[in-house]
């Protein structure tokens, strides 16, 4: 079992996965920040049950996507004072995303929440077997679903 230090280091190295999930599951920067924190909290809570038999990125994906789909967002945006200085805040810098990436993210956000999970795993090159294990459906169903989602995604990018 890893120590807290190793856990944090592993999360730090893989945090790009969590940020991208926050981008496709939440619209506002505040909601993304809340989801990011919720994912880290859930990872830490479920960390004792992480056996290490699967890759840490696979486990991280499962917890992050599960959290994004199972948590409820706030109804109204709250006005809160920032606790951290801008250089360490999670607010996305829109300039960091180019137009094609923005189009891709916007298209993914138009998919249903379960479809967003499948396409994110596929785009990060997880195998059908890994996707099936994370989602809890058969490999065959993963293939059928992904074929449909890929076509839909390409159509959404051409005609947003």
């Amino acid at each position: 079992m890893m120590s807290e230090k190793e856990f944090l280091s592993m999360v730090k190295d893989n945090q790009g996965i969590i940020h991208k999930i926050c981008r496709i599951y939440r619209d506002s920067p505040e909601d993304r920040e809340d989801l990011f924190q919720e994912v880290i909290f859930q990872l830490w809570r479920s960390y004792p049950s992480f056996s290490g038999s699967s890759k840490s990125s696979t486990w991280l994906y499962r917890v992050a996507l599960n959290t994004a789909m199972a948590s409820f967002r706030k109804n109204k945006p709250d006005v809160t004072l920032a606790e951290y200085l801008p250089d360490v805040q999670l607010k996305d810098n829109i300039n960091e995303y180019n137009e094609r990436q923005e189009a891709l993210l916007a298209a993914i956000r138009q998919l249903s929440e379960p479809d967003r999970a499948l396409i994110a795993l596929f785009l990060d090159e997880l195998s059908y077997q890994q996707i099936a294990l994370i989602i809890g459906i058969s490999e065959n169903n993963v293939g059928v679903k992904l074929n449909r989602i890929k076509i839909r995604l390409q159509k959404l990018i051409i005609k947003p």
Binding site: E4, L8, S9, V11, K12, Q15, G16, H19, K20, R23, D34, F36, Q37, E38, I40, F41, Q42, L43, W44, R45, S46, R62, L65, N66, T67, M69, A70, S71, F72, Y84, V88, Q89, L90, D92, N93, E96, Y97, R100, Q101, L104, L105, E113, P114, A117, A120, L123, D124, E125, L133, I134, I135, G136, N141, V144, K145, R148, K150, L153, Q154, I157
Partner: protein
């Protein structure tokens, strides 16, 4: 864009970097924004209902009311407060299974049970408080109508509560259905 281009764009998305000390802070329950809000709300409810019970028992002739009315009031106020601590624990447990489908299914079951008991306890609370106040009152037709009108104000929050739970559980059910359906 073809699929390989989509993959390449996805994988080259730049993301912010959060430092270790900030990540560590996020693992602490006390610094969790949603849980902090829930804790604050629970504390306010505890203080509010405790004050209400104290006022009932000290300033509203509780000794003249039947023992049963006093006991029902105490029980109907205490039960939701105790049950809310279970709700707080449930708010922390988003991951409830070895994969996303089974986790969502388990969470739906847990939330359904919580919602049903929560609504029942709210009904018991309203009834318990009403019984305490009405236990020594002669019910006339006029008072009964007044009670009927007053109960609308008590039932409306209950309706809102049911609606919130239906919406939340419905969203999870939709996600699970879409995950499980073929193709």
């Amino acid at each position: 864009m073809n699929i390989e281009e989509l993959r390449s764009e996805w994988q080259s998305i730049k993301t912010p970097q959060v430092e270790l000390d900030r990540l560590k802070d996020m693992t602490i329950e006390k610094s969790h924004p949603v849980l902090s809000r829930i804790r604050k709300q629970l504390m306010m409810e505890l203080i509010g209902w405790s004050a209400f019970v104290i006022i009932c028992f000290t300033g509203l002739d509780a000794e003249q009311k039947p023992m049963l009315a006093n006991a029902i009031l105490l029980l109907s106020v205490t039960l939701p407060i105790i049950f809310n601590t279970y709700g707080y624990r449930l708010s922390k447990e988003l991951i409830a299974g070895p994969d996303i489908s089974s986790s969502l299914q388990n969470r739906i079951n847990a939330l359904k049970n919580f919602a049903i008991i929560s609504v029942m306890l709210r009904i018991i609370l309203i009834s318990g408080v009403a019984y305490f106040f009405l236990s020594t009152v002669d019910i006339t037709q006029g008072k009964l109508m007044l009670l009927g009108a007053g109960s609308v104000f008590l039932i409306f929050p209950l309706y809102l509560l049911v609606r919130i739970w239906k919406k939340r559980i419905g969203k999870l059910k939709d996600n699970l259905r879409l995950l499980k359906e073929l193709g």
